[in-house]
Amino acid sequence: MNNQEFNKIWKQPVIKIGVFTLLLTAALSFLPVGYLYFVHGVIPDLALALKAWGMIAALFGAFYVVEPVSYYAVLGLAGTYMSFLAGNISNLRLPCASMALEVTETEPGTKEAEVISTLGIAGSIITNLIGVTIAAFVGTALIKLFPPVVANAFKVYTVPAIFGAVFGQFAFRFPKLGVVGIGIPVILRLTTKLPAWALIIASVFGTILVAKILNERAKRSAGTTA
């Protein structure tokens, strides 16, 4: 199938669904604020609303841009729309997309990979929605079934363990890039006070740059020996 056909059957509908659902959710996000106004007559005045907005944007504003740009190469188009609607990207969407590719032995960066990672992410969203819905309705009762030490381990250690595991999965395949990927942010953290968004850019695009250099070098030496 050529790119033009793929555009028509995949990309265009993906964009249509993505734009519609994300903008709809953005609008629906304000319903709770509207509810407090219409039912209880309380709403922050303009000055307070803008102040709160400014304060939170100062903390997270850079991530609105940096995260989509940095994660796109891994998530693909549909994956990006899904991941940024459903959230929990690093601990759920990225690991599930990469495992789906690994299990089905699909080469990343291909048309098939777009479809496979989309399905992996969709599966993770279903589990996620079931989990949060159960938590919302019977969570308080269920939580008592967890022994405190287990509950605490899940709370504190799942995220680092997942981050480590996904790193291990890829470092096994690209050991040199693994050293670069962990080396850049660790060294920067120890030696500078760069904000988090700058650390993401440095480690993602720094690692891509090193990969590019290694790839060019491999191609050149393959060219000379052949």
Binding site: W10, I15, G18, T25, S29, Y35, K51, I56, F60, Y64, E67, V74, L77, T80, F84, L85, G87, N91, L92, M99, V103, T104, E107, G109, E112, A113, V115, I116, L119, A122, G123, I125, I126, T127, N128, L129, I130, V132, A135, A136, A153, V156, Y157, P160, A161, I162, F163, G164, A165, G168, A171, F172, V180, G183, I184, P185, S203, V204, F205, A211
Partner: protein, 232 residues
């Protein structure tokens, strides 16, 4: 938070609103799943392969979702059930949402969860969570399709290099995410290292027993977690 404020946060109307937002997420996932299956067929991919990919996502998510579940139940006692349900179904993990709720109260000059945390503070917290979340929703909703040209510019159409590029981006992302725990040391560092090592072992093991592949991340995660408890 005072019981009266929490009671308002848990009113039936808020549950209805939360259900609306959660269903948009579910609908989107269903639409993309259907589209992926029909596209796979046109690409000549086996249906069984698609089923495996979907199931891998379902299974791999179980461990992390248990973690979200536990955090969410704690969060419900602070910001109420429906808002926790709504906010954790869309962009924004628990730490981000709690930060936004706290920042909203601070903008008003009230301490989050204190006696002075009144209805206006609640409204400001909810407002702040909403405007923070739409930052991602709007940028991704409006500009994602333009990112493709960025990938093409860096990727250059060479499939071998595109695969390498995705791997490098993944290592960069997770290198960054791991770096905080690595620098902090202690149990979290142990969790990272044990998680990474057991994943490498799982990759090797599953070369012999491919059926285990779907569970490899879940198993590596559990090994990482319990190593952290035992050795820290």
């Amino acid at each position: 938070m005072s019981p009266e404020i929490l009671k308002i946060a848990n009113e039936f109307g808020v549950w209805i609103i939360a259900a609306l937002v959660v269903s948009v997420v579910a609908i989107q996932a269903i639409l993309y799943t259907r589209l992926a299956y029909s596209t796979a067929e046109k690409l000549g991919m086996k249906k069984e392969k698609c089923n495996i990919a979907f199931r891998t996502g379902l299974v791999t998510a179980i461990g992390p979702v248990i973690a979200i579940f536990i955090v969410m139940v704690g969060m419900m006692s602070v910001i109420g059930g429906p808002m926790s349900w709504l906010r954790l179904s869309i962009i924004g993990a628990a730490p981000t949402e709690l930060t936004a709720a706290r920042v909203g109260a601070e903008a008003l000059g009230v301490e989050f969860g204190s006696k002075n945390y009144n209805l206006l503070a609640l409204a400001t917290s909810w407002w702040t969570m909403a405007v923070n979340g739409i930052g991602w929703l709007l940028l991704v909703g409006l500009f994602s399709h333009k990112l493709e040209s960025l990938r093409e510019k860096i990727g250059g159409g060479d499939p071998r290099w595109l695969g390498l590029l995705s791997g490098a981006a993944m290592l960069g992302v997770f290198g960054y995410l791991n770096s905080a725990d690595v620098v902090q040391g202690g149990g979290k560092l142990i969790a990272v290292v044990a998680g990474a090592l057991s994943m490498v072992v799982m990759v090797k093991v599953t070369q012999k027993y491919p059926k285990l592949k779907e569970f490899s991340l879940g198993i590596a995660m559990l090994v990482g977690m319990f190593s952290a408890i035992i050795f820290s």
